[in-house]
Symmetry: C2
Subunit: 483 residues, 2 copies
């Protein structure tokens, strides 16, 4: 256990030590030639812009907190260059429908306002999109299941800043704008003012990540961080907070991070401006999702036939998360395609921060987690299963349920941007001569592999409700009606 200054031990996790990083050769030819990065990260959109996830096993192995080395990154363009010497002079504004417009530097933000530190899981709305792209190409690039990461973020609670600025009557939204100049203007988006003013939701303006100033890929020197919502709302390189009566009219707010109704095709979508602007299709809160991290894709487990010192069980492991402060309340595992389910124990490292002593300060910010009932972070599940049962099964699938008793669905919800993909996570089990080999749904980016691509190539209909296989019960034991 980590030790306090006073010699007592901390109950909650601290971040792993990051590796020494340097500018990678492939970045030298790009505008990001000033950004140090970890070579393990998988590039999802070629060399530039930088959109990456870690290998799923590496991400899982780092534990509850992700270092900046392996934290996923979603950059729309070049990373704004801010020298260390300029960081504290970074200026931003709070303007629009406020009685008291504010312009302040990062130095003033740190000196004038209460600082808080929260553990927060960020998730890209495109997490698991590769699965959707195999069903039918979306407009988005191919995330695997590692578009999710957790860090300790330090900064100022957004409700405090808004209270100082005093929104005026009729104000309903808060827009955020970054310094990243893109083909369609600066990146920007908005959330509802009511949420931004609610301390329970934990929105913050952050200048620290895992006890260090922000890494350039994560918004150096200042960004928004919103627990429980998609990463696309947590604007990096923050320059302006604008209180408004209407949602952001920024191009990226309207034409990104939306789940249009599934019957709208890429072709149709080009001519539906009112559909794009319908705020009901904008994604804010994350949906409930989960993934199997172990066994990894391609992992093989020897079958020894039991006895001796042989491994008799295999421990399956993975993550789950929910959005909007909700808790994942159960994680279930099936070896018979959903006819019966087993319960996998779930651990919530986030709850350890709630036990910190009153007034606990971490990385210069108050932890302030004890009174909150909401969940800001992912959780972990694991279950030991006899190898013999895995050997008998054709696949293993998981699903999470959240505290509003919504459960991940069997069926994929495909939409034109490819977002919020959360059907049951399925790993196929192949029996080989003396071992089991595991096959995930996909591999990220253009990496080949995964049962979805394979089944599709073989002519299977992967959206038939049975993953392109025959109906449960046709080629196995008769289905039981009573669960």
């Amino acid at each position: 256990l980590p030790t306090y200054v006073d010699g007592s031990t901390r109950l909650y996790p601290l971040p792993p030590t990051p590796r020494a990083a340097k500018v990678l050769p492939e970045d030298l030819k790009t505008p990001d030639n000033h950004v140090e990065r970890d070579p393990r990260l998988i590039r999802l959109t070629g060399v530039h812009p930088f959109n990456v996830e870690a290998p799923l096993s590496d991400l899982y192995d780092e534990g509850f907190l992700t270092t900046k080395d392996l934290h996923y990154v979603r950059n729309h363009g070049a990373v704004p260059r801010v020298e260390d010497a300029e960081v504290l002079d970074w200026e931003f504004t709070i303007e629009g429908m406020v009685s008291n417009p504010i312009k302040l530097t990062l130095r003033e933000l740190i000196q004038t306002y209460d600082q808080v530190t929260y553990p927060i899981t960020l998730v890209c709305a495109g997490n698991r999109r590769k699965e959707q792209n195999i069903v039918r190409k979306t407009k988005g690039f191919s995330w695997g299941a590692a578009g999710v990461s957790t860090a300790l973020w330090t900064g100022v609670a957004l409700p405090d800043l808004l209270a100082r600025a005093m929104p005026t009557r009729g104000a309903k939204y808060v827009c955020f704008e970054g310094a990243d100049k893109l083909p369609n203007g600066y990146y920007g988006t908005s959330v509802k003012l009511n949420w931004a003013q609610d301390p329970d939701r934990g929105m913050m303006v952050a200048h620290g990540m895992n006890g260090e100033p922000l890494h350039p890929d994560h918004g150096k020197p200042l960004r928004i961080v919103i627990p429980g919502q998609i990463g696309g709302r947590s604007v990096k390189w923050l320059k302006r907070i604008i209180v408004t009566a209407a949602p952001s009219d920024n191009w990226y707010h309207i034409y990104d991070n939306r789940v249009l109704p599934m019957m709208i095709s890429p072709e149709d979508s080009a001519n539906l401006p009112d559909t794009w602007k319908d705020e009901r299709y904008a994604i804010y809160d994350l949906n409930t999702n989960s993934a199997i991290c172990y066994p990894a894709h391609g992992e093989t487990v020897p079958l020894t036939g039991g006895g001796g010192g042989a491994v008799e069980t295999y421990k399956l492991k993975g993550y789950a998360y929910a959005g909007g402060g909700k808790r994942v309340t159960r994680l279930e595992v099936t070896l018979d395609q959903g006819r019966t389910w087993m319960l996998a124990p779930v651990s919530y490292p986030e709850d350890l921060y709630r036990l910190a002593p009153d007034g606990e300060v971490l990385f210069g910010g108050r932890l302030d987690m004890a009174w909150r009932e909401s969940c800001f972070c992912w959780c972990f599940w694991e279950i030991d299963l006899p190898l013999s049962r895995l050997q008998e099964a054709g696949d293993v699938m998981i699903r999470a349920m959240d505290d509003s008793m919504m459960v991940q669905p069997r069926d994929m919800y495909w939409s034109v941007l490819g977002m919020m993909n959360n059907p049951w996570y399925r790993v196929v089990i192949h029996k080989e001569a003396h071992s089991l080999r595991f096959e995930h749904p996909t591999q990220p980016a253009l990496m080949p592999g995964g049962w979805m691509e394979r089944v599709k190539k073989e002519g299977g209909n992967i959206t038939n409700g049975f993953w392109g296989e025959k109906m449960a019960g046709e080629d196995a034991a008769p289905a039981q009606e009573e669960p």
Copy 2:
């Protein structure tokens, strides 16, 4: 449109006028022989205690607001008898972990505190449970799809009362206890203090329903009303509010209103006290759900072959709701068992209250809805479909999605108490000589009818992912892989 005193018109709905009611002959022999009721209500647990829902069409036809005539009722035992003359002297307390314990009468509550009026949809956690009971008998009785109703509730915001009582350090829960004495003590339950103190969640202590004092079945003279949570938390005949460090230890809090993991059988559940006490399985927020109200069960629609003055389309209609303040953001309809979906327009009458003038008072309470982003009420969908398409289809199904992008699942989540049933709502279409006949999944209570009972009797496996039918694509056109 209803007219204001000043001659302008109200944009928002007002309740329909209730019918004159009287004590029904069947209630004369019961302890409820003082309670006037509407004979249309369907009794789900014999004559007594009184647990009822309206016929689904009657409920729908009343519109956004439900009269006390047709509002569903869930009574665990006899209705406490309170004479009109005693109402204002009704006493209740706020006690436990508070600096300032409060005892006050309803008269003082009305005279001393700000009054608010909100439209709130209440839903029984057992809504649609009959479907679960057909799959496998649960411990709960058989609700149809009309265990949901909406009224205008008037009372005092719970955060105001709690602020006056001043919860002390370490307080985490708020327990509610009613005056209804039951075999296992007074009915009681709890919610999290953090939620109860949050004005956004809209919890209230209510003494008015649709502009009248509470009807005995709805808690006369005082009850809790909690938007977005299951009805079981909205304690009726309120006597005590107790602030505590731990969840309620009331028998009804622990052994009712929970979704235990589905693999736990009725037999196993008797010996799992720790499982029952796991707060992760307690239901608070409603899950997302929807139903088809028209066509009604048994409704027939003539097929005229088109031309002349014949009806060429049929308008399908129904309701949807989500929990925890979430909005239903889309309602989709399929005629090919989920291979393709159509979007049904959704209306939100609740939003009309948000447009009321500032300070608007209704039934003695401030409407106070304009600033809130959360949804407290059900919404309605409808879609016109050509009769020819209904004639070609074997069934019609619907599913709702909420603003956290969670969608109702294909698969039923069965659990021992039978709660929160929310798979796609399916109506079977039968082709008869010159008409179409529609068949809902079930009929409430012991009423026969519905495709679930029929398919089960015919030996079909109704939990096979295809409603006991052959796999989609086997007996119809080949399934298309791309949606």
